[in-house]
Amino acid sequence: GAGVSQTPSNKVTEKGKYVELRCDPISGHTALYWYRQSLGQGPEFLIYFQGTGAADDSGLPNDRFFAVRPEGSVSTLKIQRTERGDSAVYLCASSPGGGDTEAFFGQGTRLTVV
């Protein structure tokens, strides 16, 4: 695709439920990032993939959050036992990797936990 695609655009779920958020990066981009943006705040780093492996998962807040990228392209962010505090916009970004520092962002998934 032409850009980073995130689905769904909006997701409303009940407290305690499980959700999956999907990110399709730009074709050929080896680096993929997940960020969480709470209302009125800047994005906060969650996890970074280089290829299929998580190169840095230091931003994941707890063990309810997990992300995969099994084939080095599409990534899924998984949240178990959702809490109201998980409500935020989840942004995905990809970059070519190597020495190119520009990250291309998707439009995010707005998650609302009720």
Binding site: A31, Y33, Y35, G40, Q41, G42, P43, E44, F45, Y48, Q50, D56, G59, V89, L91, A93, S95, P96, G97, G98, G99, D100, T101, E102, A103, F105, G106, Q107, G108, R110
Partner: protein, 117 residues
């Protein structure tokens, strides 16, 4: 740990005028990159301009330029000839340089810029 501070929650400017958005950062790293991203209501973050810390010359991109003061750890964005389409949230961001690889971004809390007709 690195931190990025944007002390102006909101700014307003008249169309065609010039505005400067402030950003300071704290790091012990010597090699890094600095960025300004724009986030319109569509939520998609768009790169406005970037600066390599090792370069003394300030980056410019058309109407956008930066004033990079490495010793003061300051990185302000100047928008000249402001246009209505510049209305958006602007985020300053820091990236540590790790070999030749890309790395995570550390963002500030943002400045909401409103361009008035």
């Amino acid at each position: 740990a690195q931190t990025v501070t944007q002390s102006q929650p909101e700014m307003s400017v008249q169309e065609a005028e010039t505005v400067t958005l402030s950003c300071t950062y704290d790091t012990s790293e010597s090699n890094y990159y600095l960025f300004w991203y724009k986030q319109p209501p569509s939520r998609q973050m768009i790169l406005v301009i970037r600066q390599e810390a090792y370069k003394q010359q300030n980056a410019t991109e058309n109407r956008f330029s930066v004033n990079f003061q490495k010793a003061a750890k300051s990185f302000s964005l100047k928008i000249s000839d402001s246009q209505l389409g510049d209305t958006a949230m602007y985020f300053c961001a820091f990236m540590k340089q790790v070999g030749g690889a890309t790395n995570k971004l550390i963002f500030g809390t943002g400045t909401l810029l409103a361009v008035q007709p």
